[in-house]
Symmetry: C2
Subunit: 107 residues, 2 copies
DNA sequence: TTTTTATATTGCAATATTACGATAATTCAA
DNA sequence: TTGAATTATCGTAATATTGCAATATAAAAA
């Protein structure tokens, strides 16, 4: 096999898994870090920041965009990328909710 | 290829990616949800909660344990699993840090 | 000791991901 | 229109993940 049996899990569980899958690669963590480090949206130079070929970076950016972790605006020949604050907030809330519940429970 | 070029990224980037990879599967998100729902550590019945065979669940639990997302204590024939609050806090802090920085920046 | 119960490991088939060369598409400038 | 610059897509090879049957391991009960 190899195909995950996603049809047996809830929509929310699948959505969360997709978000995590999108950032489960060091290159994509690095992209997030870079977008955060620079003080604004980045137009163009992401490829030069990473030790990967242009088609590979393009693919990584596409995956981050597909799940809503980054946003991209076309600006002439370049594309301006930035993080999506709503998605980041959603992930923050997911883990803060878990932490809050865990305080009173568990070993 | 197919092997991710992790040697070109920082240790921290790789560690974060590993954490996210561990929860990038709906079954593993479901395990977290279940451990949270029940009011204590779970001894035994995780397999019955999931629509997957015992060896598959065992493998998923192993991966979550490897990266420190869950802890498991042997208790007789059963094993007691629970979430690791420290790892959850680490992930919460990661995203709250991002959210905080994004407030003043980005489009 | 033997049996039962619970979990782990092995081996393998099916499928998914990663990376990149080649090439296409798009937009701006000349 | 042509050429340069930037990003996307296609095709494909290498590798990783997923799932489970079969089997192994370990501890408690009989």
């Amino acid at each position: 096999m190899g195909a995950s049996k996603s049809e047996f899990f809830s929509e929310q569980q699948n959505e969360l898994a997709s978000l995590f899958k999108a950032i489960s690669h060091p290159a994509r963590v690095a992209i997030i870090e870079y977008l955060l480090k620079v003080d604004s949206c980045i137009c163009g130079d992401i490829v030069n920041e990473l030790p990967l070929a242009q088609p590979t970076v393009s693919q990584h950016l596409k995956e981050l965009k597909n799940v809503g972790i980054i946003k991209g605006n076309i600006e002439g020949t370049a594309i301006c990328y930035c993080l999506n604050p709503e998605t980041m907030k959603k992930l923050e809330n997911y883990f803060s909710g878990i932490s809050k519940e865990l305080k009173t429970k568990c070993c």
